[in-house]
Amino acid sequence: MQSTAVITPSTLSVVDLPWQVEWNKDTCTLCGRCTSVCPVSAIELGVFRKRSVEATIALQKKPTNSYSIYYGIRQRTDPAYRCIGCGMCNMVCPNNAIAPRLRPEATTLKFHNNRGGAARTRGGRRNDTGSLLDQIKFIRISMLTDPALDAGRHEFELRTLLGRVLPPEDGLAALADNAWVPAVREIYPLMIGSMSFGALSPNMWEGLVMGVSYLNEELGMPVRMCTGEGGCPPRLLRSRFLKYMVLQIASGYFGWDEIIKALPDMKEDPCAIEIKYGQGAKPGDGGLLMWYKVNKLIAAIRGVPQGVSLPSPPTHQTQYSIEESVAKMIQSMSMAWGFRVPVYPKISGTTTSTAVLNNLVRNPYAAGLAIDGEDGGTGAAYNVSMNHMGHPIATNLRDCYENLCIAGKQNEIPLIAGGGIGKNGNLAANAAALIMLGASAVQSGKYIMQAAAGCLGSEHDRCNVCNIGVCPKGITSQDPRLYRRLDPELVAERLVDVFLSFDTELRKIVAPLGRSTSLPVGMSDALGIGDYHAANRLKIKYVV
C-alpha cells in the first residue's frame, strides 16, 4: 500500500461511482466467490490494516499502539473496472454480505469514461426510465351501454398479417385470374425483435428457438423471431423450424453466404426477410460486434476471421440511393425465394421514415415496414448514440400510419413498431397502445432478454456489458465458461410463460374495449393521455 496516494485528474473515490459495493465485514466468510464472479473485476480481495491505541486507565503506563491486519473486499475505482451494479456478487454470496447500491447523484465517472481517448461503448439500453407509452390509457370501455366481452371465456382472434395485403378489389380479381399475389403470413402480433446470433450466446439462441417452436407447435401461437444480422446456424436453416424465423440481411451482409448456400436445402421458406437499414438504439451507427465476441463459431457463421471487430456500416454500401436500396433489395430478396416470402425493410425511427414508407407504398413487393424507436435495440453501440440519437416510436409510428390512411393503404403495408415496449415491464399495455396507434405488430428484444433469460440490465445503466462478451448471465457472451450458466430449456420455458401471460393481458385490454375478432389496429378512439401536447400530437384524447 502506498503511504501517500498519488492524486491525478482521474483519481476517483468510491463515492464518485454510481454503483457502490457495500460489504459487511461481520457476515463475510471470505469465500471469495464474489470476486471470482464479478464480470468486470470491480472487487478484489483487499488487505486492510487497523491500528488501535491502547491506553490504560489513569495513565500508569504510556499508551501503546497495536497493529492488526484483516482481509476483506475492496472496490476498485479505476473507471475501467468500475462496478456495473450487476449484483452477481450478491447472487453468489452465501451470507448476503455484499451488494451494490446505486447512488444516482454520483456523476463524476461520466467525465472519466473516455480513457485513452476512446469514447465509451456499451450494450443494452438507453438508460432513461421515462416512457410515453406507459402514460397512455385505454379509455373507451364497454360497460353500461353494451355488454363487455369476457376476456376469459370469449373467443379471440389476436392475429395479424405480415406481408403486402392487396386491396379487396385487387385481391379478389387476382384470385379469379389465378394471378400472383404477394405472400402474406398470419402471425402473432408480438414478435421477438432482432438480436443476432453473434450478439447472443448459443445457449440463449437455442432457448429462444426452442421456445418459439413450442409456442407454434404445441400451443398454436404463431410467434415469430427475427434473427438480426449475422446469419443463422446452418442446421436451423435446413430445418422445418426455419418457418418461424425472420432472417435479417443487414448492411454488413454477415452470414449471408451461409444462407444463400443453404437455399437449395431449405425444407421450408423463412417467415420473412428483414432488410435492416437501422436499429433504434444506434441510428446511423450500424451494428457493432466487438472482437471479444467473435470466436471460432461466430467467425465461421459470419464468414469472417476470428477476433476482429465487426462493425456493420451505417448503410448498405453496395447501393448508392434510397430507391435502389429499397426497391432493388426488396426485389432481389423476393426473387431469391421465388416471390414466396415477404420482404420488408427495418429502419430506425427518424424524421424521414414517412419518405421511406411512401416509397414502399408504390412498391408491389414491399411486405411491410418495421420501425424501431429510440428505446429499441440491445446491441453494442457508443454511449452517445444510445443516449442521444433516435426518434421516439409513438409519434413516428403515428405519422406513418396517418400517411397510410391518406394513401388508403392502412394495414396493406403492415407497420411493425418496436422501441421501448415493456421497458418498465408493461409489455402488453405498451404493445396494445402501439397497435391502437396503428402498428400491425410490435417487436421487442430487450424485454424478452430480461424476462426469458434474466438479463440484469435496467434503465439505470446497470450491467450493460453485453458488448464485451462478459455477460454475467451468459446471455450475450460467446465464452463457454459464461454461457454454460444459461440453461436453454429454462429459457424456452420462460419464453413460453412470457407469451402466454402477454396473451392473457392483451385480452384483458381488448375485451373491455369490445374487440375480439380482429386486432384493434388504429383504434385510436380508445386511447387517452394526460399530456395535452402529446394528446394533440398523437391525435388521441386528452384526459386528466
Binding site: 385481391g171 379478389l172 390512411c405
Partner: protein, 376 residues
C-alpha cells in the same frame, strides 16, 4: 339499445304498422329519435318509379336554395309531398321547417347516361346538398333515390309519426325499415338516426361497433364521395354493405363473411375456402366487433338480418307468405303480424344471414359454413 323493426310485404302497407311495432317495444328505447326508410312505394309515387325522390327537411331559405340548386342542374319538380305537422310540436323535437319528399324529372343528358352514371349523380347531388345544408343549417337530406323516401326526426317514434301524419297513402310502401333510437354513445344528431342509406343500400343496427374508427378511416380513404357522414358508429355497416355489393360485386351471402369472417378452423373444410381466405385477408379492415344486430335492405328489395360473431343482440324474423317482418323483439313481431305461425319464427344465430327476397315468400337462412354462390 335501439329497437328495430322492418317489414317486407308484397302489397304496400302503412308505415304506421312498423311504428306501432316500435311502440310495443318501447321499454327498450328512450325515444330519442326515429328513422324511417320506405322503398317500393305504393301511393302516387308508384307511378314514377324511375324518378329520383329527394327526402329531407328544409327551412324557407333552404327550399329556395334547393330550387336554385336543382334548377341549375336541370332537374324539374314532378311531384311534391309535404308532411305538414298536424299536432303541436312534440316535446324535445325542434321546429325545423318543411318535411318533404319531392320527385324530379331528370335532365335529358342524364336520361341518356348509363344506370351507373345516373346513380352516381344522384349520390353526388345528395352529398352536395347535405354539405351545403350543413353550412347554414337549412337543408337536411336523407336520400335522393328513385322510389325511396326517408324520414328522420328526434323524439318518440309514435308521437313524431302522429305529428307528421305518417299514416297517409302516399307513404305506403312494400319495404319499410324503422328504428326507435336509444341514444347512447354520441350527442343527439338528426343524421345519427338510423337507418343509413347509400345508393339503394340501407341498414340499421341495435348495438355498438367498437371497430368504428379504423373502419371509418378505411372507408374515408376509398376516395368515394358517398362514404361520409359517420355520425353514428353503425353507419359504417351500410357502407360496408355498399362496398361489398358495388365495389366487390359480392351478393348478400357474402356480407357476413366480410364483417364477421369464419375462424381459420371453421374455414378449413369449407368448399369455398380459397375465396373466403382471400376475403378475410383483404377485407380485414372491415371486420366489425361489438354486439350488434344489423337489419338492412338492398337496392332490389331483398331484406336481411345478421348478427355479430358472438350473437350478443336479439333479433327475430317471422311472418307468412306475402308479408315478413324483422324485429329486435318478438313482441314487435306479434304486434305487426299477429296472424303468423310463431313456431316458424327464425332467430338467426352467429353464423346466419336471414334473407327475405322481394317476392316475400319465405325466410331463407344462409349459414356461413355453407357453400356460396359464385361471385358475379
Amino acid at each position: 339499445m335501439c329497437r328495430l323493426f322492418a317489414l317486407s310485404s308484397r302489397d304496400p302497407v302503412s308505415p304506421m304498422r312498423a311504428i306501432e311495432a316500435l311502440n310495443v317495444m318501447k321499454e327498450g328505447h328512450d325515444g330519442s329519435g326515429v328513422g324511417l326508410f320506405l322503398h317500393d312505394l305504393g301511393g302516387p309515387f308508384a307511378e314514377t318509379k324511375d324518378a329520383p325522390i329527394l327526402s329531407g327537411i328544409f327551412t324557407e331559405d333552404g327550399l329556395k336554395r334547393l330550387d336554385a340548386f336543382m334548377d341549375e342542374r336541370g332537374f324539374v319538380t314532378k311531384a311534391t309531398l309535404v308532411l305538414d305537422p298536424r299536432t303541436k310540436t312534440p316535446e324535445g323535437t325542434p321546429i325545423r321547417g318543411v318535411y318533404m319528399a319531392r320527385a324530379y324529372e331528370i335532365p335529358a343528358d342524364l336520361k341518356a347516361a348509363s344506370k351507373a352514371e345516373r346513380e352516381l349523380t344522384y349520390m353526388a347531388i345528395r352529398v352536395a346538398l347535405r354539405l351545403t345544408g350543413e353550412e347554414r343549417d337549412d337543408i337536411r337530406v336523407f336520400s335522393f333515390w328513385p322510389d325511396t323516401i326517408m324520414v328522420k326526426e328526434v323524439g318518440d317514434p309514435l308521437t313524431v309519426a302522429e305529428y307528421l301524419g305518417l299514416d297517409r297513402p302516399e307513404l305506403f310502401a312494400r319495404r319499410i325499415l324503422a328504428q326507435g333510437r336509444q341514444n347512447t354513445n354520441y350527442a343527439i344528431n338528426l343524421y345519427a338516426c338510423h337507418p343509413f342509406f347509400l345508393q339503394g343500400v340501407c341498414t340499421m343496427t341495435n348495438g355498438e361497433n367498437t371497430a368504428f374508427i379504423p373502419i371509418k378511416e378505411y372507408l374515408l380513404s376509398r376516395g368515394f364521395a358517398g362514404y361520409m357522414g359517420y355520425q353514428s358508429d353503425s353507419e359504417v355497416f351500410a357502407h360496408i354493405m355498399h362496398f361489398t355489393l358495388s365495389r366487390l360485386g359480392l351478393g348478400i351471402e357474402y356480407y357476413k363473411h366480410v364483417i364477421t369472417p369464419l375462424s381459420d378452423t371453421e374455414m378449413e373444410g369449407h368448399p369455398d375456402r380459397a375465396l373466403l381466405g382471400r376475403i378475410k385477408q383483404t377485407c380485414r379492415k372491415l371486420i366489425i366487433d361489438g354486439p350488434n344486430c344489423v337489419i338492412g335492405c338492398l337496392p332490389e328489395g331483398t331484406m336481411f338480418m345478421v348478427q355479430d360473431r358472438k350473437k350478443l343482440r336479439p333479433g327475430v324474423v317471422g311472418g307468412h307468405d306475402g308479408i315478413f317482418a324483422f324485429s329486435s323483439e318478438i313482441c314487435g313481431l306479434d304486434a305487426a303480424i299477429p296472424d303468423r305461425d310463431p313456431r316458424a319464427d327464425v332467430q338467426p344465430m352467429h353464423l346466419d344471414t336471414a334473407i327475405v327476397r322481394p317476392e316475400c315468400q319465405e325466410v331463407t337462412l344462409c349459414n356461413q359454413l355453407q357453400s356460396l354462390p359464385r361471385p358475379h
